[in-house]
């Protein structure tokens, strides 16, 4: 891996705050995600992880602070703006439309068109081609998502997120409710995204997963950054202490 201190972050947050009424969901958050690196965001429920992901993907808009992509500030007005600037998000629950098939799900919101009509053939062809590139074997891309298992859906969701050539990929609880084998498949995909030079950000409760695959871990606690560590230089105990607040320090 390259020395991350010299590389420019693909995505950077500076002093981002978000309030919902009286509740401060995010308080002065800094975050840097580098190309070719998996950054894990961990924290207890209510630590602000989901809000953070929603701010990055422009589902929410921050009250204060900046979002920078490749060093220059961007202002996202909608999720599609965020995606156009190279940020792909795989949400835990809102990733896919169950009643639509694999092929259509790959292109929701960006349907290829021929004149007035949706170019179904191109959609199918590119879906097959793209899944092949990722070594994901789906024999029938006309299978409805609702017929797939959780792991299969997750893999399709990740595939879709990177299809549009995103440089930063956010994954919200990518292994929640997945079996052991499915978790390994998802992990392989995530690792290959990193190897392809993407900046990967995963929000996860799964410490096993974080310590097996992430390069750095950023701990959130009560809407603030409780600490940032390289996985190789920290221990599970330390991270858990940061999560629960038994160990404190200023934002790294």
């Amino acid at each position: 891996m390259t020395d991350i201190t010299t590389a420019e972050p693909a995505l950077e947050l500076r002093g981002v705050s978000k309030r919902f009424g009286q509740v401060v969901a995010l308080d002065d958050i800094d975050l840097s995600a580098y190309p070719g690196e998996i950054l894990a965001i961990v924290g207890d429920n209510g630590a602000g992880k989901s809000t953070l992901i929603k701010v990055i993907s422009a589902v929410h808009r921050q009250d204060q602070g900046q979002v920078l992509i490749d060093g220059s500030e961007v202002s996202h007005f909608s999720p599609s703006d965020a995606r156009e600037s190279g940020i792909a998000t795989v949400f835990q629950d809102l990733a896919l439309v169950e009643c639509l098939d694999v092929s259509t799900n790959m292109f929701i919101g960006q349907l290829p068109k021929r004149g007035w009509f949706v170019d179904r053939k191109r959609m199918d062809r590119e879906t097959r081609q793209f899944l092949d590139e990722l070594n994901v074997t789906v024999k029938d891309i006309h299978t409805q998502i609702g017929m797939l298992s959780g792991g299969q859906r997750q893999i399709i969701a990740i595939a879709r997120a990177v299809r549009a050539g995103a440089r930063t990929v956010l994954l919200d609880e990518p292994t929640a409710a997945l079996g052991v084998r499915e978790t390994r498949h998802a992990a392989e995909m995530i690792t290959s995204l990193r190897d392809a030079g993407k900046a990967v950000i995963i929000v996860s409760h799964d410490m096993e997963f974080v310590f097996s695959y992430a390069d750095r871990v950023q701990v959130m606690r009560l809407g603030r950054v409780a600490g940032v560590r390289r996985v190789s230089e920290t221990t599970r105990d330390e991270v858990i202490a940061l999560i629960t607040g038994t160990k404190r320090e200023n934002a790294a």
């Binding site: 024999k139 299969q152 995909m189």
Partner: protein, 342 residues
Amino acid sequence: MSTQVDDIVARTPTPPKQSTGGGSFAGFVHRNTQLAGIVIVIAVLVVVFQIGNPIFLSFPNLMELLRSGTLYFIIACPATIVLVSGGMDFSIGAVFAAGGVSAGMMMVAGVPWPLAVLGGIVIGALIGVLNASLSVYLKVPPLIATLGVFFAVGGAITVITTGTTVYGFPSAFTDLGQGYLLGVPFAVYYAVIVGIVFWVLLEKTELGYNARAVGGNRAAALANGIRVSRHDLIVYGLAGAVTAFAGILAASRLSSADPAAGGTSLTFQVVTAVIIGGTSLFGGIGTIGGSALGALLFATINNGLAVINVNSLWQNIFVGTILVVAVAIDQARRRRQFRSRR
């Protein structure tokens, strides 16, 4: 790395290759179960009615049946897209009356009929946009928003017309709804055109794909960059326009526009026809073909019961039963299809 999703296929009861079906794999399953059921019900009814009175299958009666069916079908087309988008439209009856009455009043006031027809359609579209605005901007659930609009618009029409029927239309206008071509009422041709247009819209265009995405998972659609609010405005606006057009056609056929036309009965009949046709009440799933069969079923029951001289009140008992059965089938299918939901 090699990420195999090899058991995707193993888990799926290998559906027949359907390369043209597009996003309508769901529709494919439908056509094979629920729609086959409707066809059988219609076939049985046809046999019963034909035995009851041999006039039933005569050409003039079939044309009459088709003509009444077209009324439901034309309105059911945009209603299908509204329901597939996860919405609901209870304002149908009032928009229907508003279309006929407003176009009628314009003609009586001396507006040339083509402009009056256009004016009526525009008023319908505006009411539709109002429906969508209430749910998009004020967050009123579509069911309540459209119900409120139903009452408000219905009331407004009664006030404006003082409840009296509007009549005195130019014959060029009344010919639209009363004419025949090759022995078939014009209305049937309109219905075929509207049906084809909406089939293409739902199955082949971005609007249709977005409808299924928005109805199937609104949050996902939004997160994936579909402009959901804009979609709602278009779909409800379209529904208003086409429903008003149907009201204008009815005014043309009857040479008069009744402020009390449509009403709750039309609203419920159209929504019921759409749901019987396999469109899911919960969005995402539905086809124009299914709605055509639903409308045909309605027209068959209406016409047949009249032909064999059975009290038309039986119609409601029939329809109520079929509706509940149709939704029960929809629920069972959803459970089966999405059983693997994590």
